[in-house]
């Protein structure tokens, strides 16, 4: 009997060891799917797996609902994800809710090639102690070249100008970005936008401006909608993420062009969920995947700007199309004459309140 117990114990221990080594090699990474996950696969995952033969990276495309799922996982006490790609504001929420690990950026991440510490190389983009920035993306406008004749839109005012550009335009169904654009088009200087928006009068002013085009707006909720609406000719112009427009224009060759005026910069990056079973491996991966070269490599596949200052000079040509990527970056000088940085502090406080007002405005 004693022997039997010993054997059973041994067998259990061996099985447990096998299971744990097997799971240590599988990293589940959550991202947005589509072209974006593909760019991460090429630029980060594949080289990492080539260098670390024991590790398999599994992509999970549930990025858009990640925050809610992560909270549910944490409450159930079983976090099955190892690394999550989130927008900056979602990462901030995750950090505040205690869902994400805090990261010592200088200890965990690689220095720039010239020895600049990571915290300086990323600079202000580290908006939360849990957040490792990856890309700068922008929400901007695309328009049908065949519907605007020889007079293409050049400024945010044109989005609100139904006489010059009749037809439908698409905007995201939320307060964020639209309120800022409305105020800019109404003549508010860019450095005063958030001050004005913080007042009741400013909110009314933004809605009044949006009222002028309300009947001509198709409201989108998913990033794929504006590219589709543009391709179908349903709208004359619409807002969406610049990477989506890039693939619509360059890869699918639709008669669409970009209107960069007052594009809104936002961040996307990684967080390590609290409770991951592979923390050491994930940190190792993070150091590799967010170094200067890797971040620059991602821009070979998608037109989002690398978050490290030291990566910018390394941005090269598109991996398959061979075109120069630098002019397609939201940060390119010609595209970034007028840009607005998404004010994370402001929206962390006011998203709930202003979205409520926005939906009420929509319904009335």
């Amino acid at each position: 009997m004693n022997k039997f117990v010993k054997q059973t114990l041994l067998a259990t221990a061996v099985t447990a060891a096998m299971v744990s080594t097997a799971s240590a090699k599988e990293l589940v990474m959550v991202s947005w799917g589509g072209a974006y996950t593909a760019s991460q696969q090429k630029a980060y995952h594949e080289p990492y797996m080539a260098n670390n033969p024991g590790v398999t990276i599994i992509n999970d495309d549930s990025g858009s609902g990640a925050l809610a799922k992560l909270r549910a996982m944490k409450e159930a006490g079983n976090v099955t994800w190892d690394l999550i790609d989130m927008t900056g504001s979602a990462a901030m929420t995750a950090c505040e809710e205690g869902l994400a690990e805090e990261i010592d950026h200088d200890k965990v991440l690689a220095n720039a090639p010239d020895g600049t510490p990571a915290s300086v190389d990323f600079g202000d983009l580290i908006i939360s102690p849990c957040f490792v920035p990856q890309i700068v993306y922008s929400t901007t406008f695309g328009y049908r070249t065949d519907k605007v004749g020889s007079n293409p839109p050049t400024s945010i005012n044109d989005v609100f100008d139904l006489e010059k550009y009749p037809g439908k335009r698409s905007l995201e169904k939320r307060a964020v970005n639209n309120m800022e654009w409305a105020l800019l088009a109404d003549g508010v200087p860019s450095d005063k936008v958030y001050d004005v928006l913080a007042t009741d009068a400013g909110v009314k002013r933004a809605f009044a401006k949006l009222d002028t085009i309300k009947d001509s707006v198709v409201w989108w909720e998913k990033g794929a909608q504006t590219p589709q609406l543009l391709a179908d000719g349903e709208i004359v112009m619409g807002s969406t993420y610049n990477g989506r427009l890039f693939s619509l224009i360059v890869e699918e060759k639709q008669p669409v062009a970009m209107m960069w005026d007052w594009q809104v910069f936002d961040l996307d990056g990684w967080i390590v969920p609290k409770g991951t079973k592979n923390k050491a491996e994930v940190m190792k991966y993070l150091k590799f995947a967010t170094d200067t070269q890797r971040l620059a490599d991602q821009s070979k596949y998608i037109s989002y700007g690398p978050a490290r200052a030291s990566s910018a000079p390394l941005v090269g040509k598109h991996a398959t199309l061979g075109i120069d990527m630098a002019p397609h970056m939201p940060t390119a000088p010609a595209n970034s004459k007028n840009t607005l940085l998404y004010n994370i502090e402001f929206w962390a406080d006011n998203t709930d309140d202003l979205n409520e007002k926005f939906y009420a405005w929509l319904a009335n």
């Binding site: 858009s64 609902g65 925050l67 809610a68 909270r71 929420t93 950090c95 505040e96 809710e97 205690g98 805090e102 439908k168 169904k173 809605f207 707006v217 198709v218 409201w219 909720e221 998913k222 589709q228 179908d232 000719g233 349903e234 502090e345 962390a348 406080d349 006011n350 998203t351 709930d352 309140d353 979205n355 409520e356 007002k357 939906y359 009420a360 405005w361 929509l362 319904a363 009335n364």
Partner: protein, 423 residues
């Protein structure tokens, strides 16, 4: 001794082994009952664990408010002594407790949650908590001055009133928001201004659209089901496949197909323009509005109406109608007086199915609904997935659930639930 007593009483019937029959019978019955119970137990437990407990725990969130009391465990009890109707902010003792709570909460990374919770009540709490927590460790007494120096909102009595109001273990604020009520600065319940009220109108719209969808489904499904029920099996099976085919197709595919058909540069508009019914400039807007939601959802939900109707109609002998006609009824009377009453169980079942499913629908309205075709379920999804305000999502869900219960009871009173036949 005992058995001799029983034997001596001839009026009690006993079994062969001397136990009174009544006792033996009830024992056998109890055994059968236990066995039956054991057989249902796995299913019961399964439903309890996977259905009732999750729903109940989600509904509890609509009143749960423990996060403030838990994180600010020292401040909350002291704060109860502060008079929120006065015009002075709490004194130093509260700030001393608050300082300890903030230092601990920052170390344990728990201070963000109450900040986000209170931000639902008053915008500004989120950054107030976040900013203060970062600096709290370095604060020197007097703490009241230190807090106000870190962020002047700590000197604003309205923030303190909200904090005190929402410091209990439960709250009614989610239900108030869900019914478009709120608190004013001095803590009275008031209806929200028109430019901030959304949910009551949305509940109304959701019920109205669901009712319209159910009615259209009924009108469309009735003749189809009738046809299916009277055709010979060979052709009716083929038609049945046509009814079921969309049922088996992915919901997203069907919704996208409707977008391609209905949009302004879509197939239907193109055909109408080509045929000269419409000018190129005034194409019909059939999608991204209420019409789009109704058309796409009727298509998605039609099988749920056809199937129960068909199964009921199949059981109505065609001879009934012939008998009615031969007794002198005209076709209309025969239909209304003889055929229609027989189909009521199917109509009831189909309508309830379609109505309840459409009340909770959210993918199709999100894609084709535009601004006028959005339903309450879209907001529940938004608060679950994006704003992470699960309390409000739970309150909206609970109201929807109880409204459906109320309708169900109403239906039972008017039509009778026993009258329903689900196939």
């Amino acid at each position: 001794m005992n058995s001799s007593v029983k034997h001596s009483n001839p009026s009690v019937m006993v079994t062969a082994d001397g136990v009174p029959l009544m006792v033996s019978l009830s024992r056998a019955k109890r055994k059968a009952k236990i066995r039956a119970l054991l057989l249902v137990t796995p299913l019961f437990l399964f439903i309890l664990v996977t259905f009732f407990i999750p729903i109940a725990s989600m509904l509890l969130r609509s009143v749960d408010n423990e996060v403030v009391e838990e994180t600010l465990s020292r401040t909350v009890p002291i704060l109860q002594g502060w008079d929120q109707t006065g015009d002075t902010i709490p004194d130093e003792t509260v700030f001393v407790a608050l300082h300890q709570d903030f230092v601990d909460g920052y170390r344990e990374k728990t201070i963000g949650s109450p900040g986000r919770r209170l931000n639902y009540e008053k915008p500004g709490f989120s950054s107030l908590f976040r900013k203060t927590a970062r600096k709290a460790e370095k604060f020197e007494p007097p703490y009241q001055a230190a807090f106000i120096k870190a962020d002047k909102k700590w000197g604003d009595i309205n923030y303190w009133r909200v904090l005190k109001r929402e410091s209990g273990p439960s709250t009614d604020s989610y239900y108030m928001t869900a019914l478009d009520y709120g608190y004013n600065d001095i803590g009275e319940r008031v209806a929200k201004a028109d430019d901030q009220s959304i949910y009551v109108d949305l509940f109304g719209r959701t019920f109205w659209i669901s009712f319209v969808i159910t009615s259209i489904c009924l009108v469309l499904a009735f003749p189809i089901s009738y046809l299916l029920s009277i055709l010979p099996a060979k052709s009716s099976n083929l038609l049945m496949i046509l009814v079921l085919l969309p049922f088996w197709t992915s919901l997203l595919v069907r919704t996208s197909a409707w977008i391609a058909l209905l949009q302004q540069q879509g197939v239907i508009n193109d055909m109408l323009v080509w045929a000269g019914f419409l000018g190129d400039d005034n194409r019909l807007a059939m999608i991204h509005n209420q019409a789009g939601t109704i058309i796409a959802m009727v298509h998605v939900l039609l099988p749920f109406m056809v199937l129960p109707l068909y199964s009921v109609m199949k059981t109505i002998p065609q001879s009934y109608m012939r008998a009615a006609r031969s007794l002198g009824a005209n076709p209309f009377t025969a239909f209304v007086r003889v055929y229609l009453p027989g189909t009521i169980p199917g109509i009831g079942a189909g309508s309830i199915l379609v109505f309840i499913i459409s009340i909770g629908y959210y993918i199709t309205p999100a894609l084709v609904g535009g601004q006028s075709g959005t339903l309450i379920s879209n907001f529940i999804a938004y608060h679950l997935q994006s704003s992470l305000n699960w309390g409000l999502a739970a309150a909206l869900g609970a109201i929807l659930l109880f409204a459906v219960f109320a309708l169900y009871i109403l239906y039972d009173k008017i039509v009778g639930i026993d009258n329903m036949k689900l196939g």
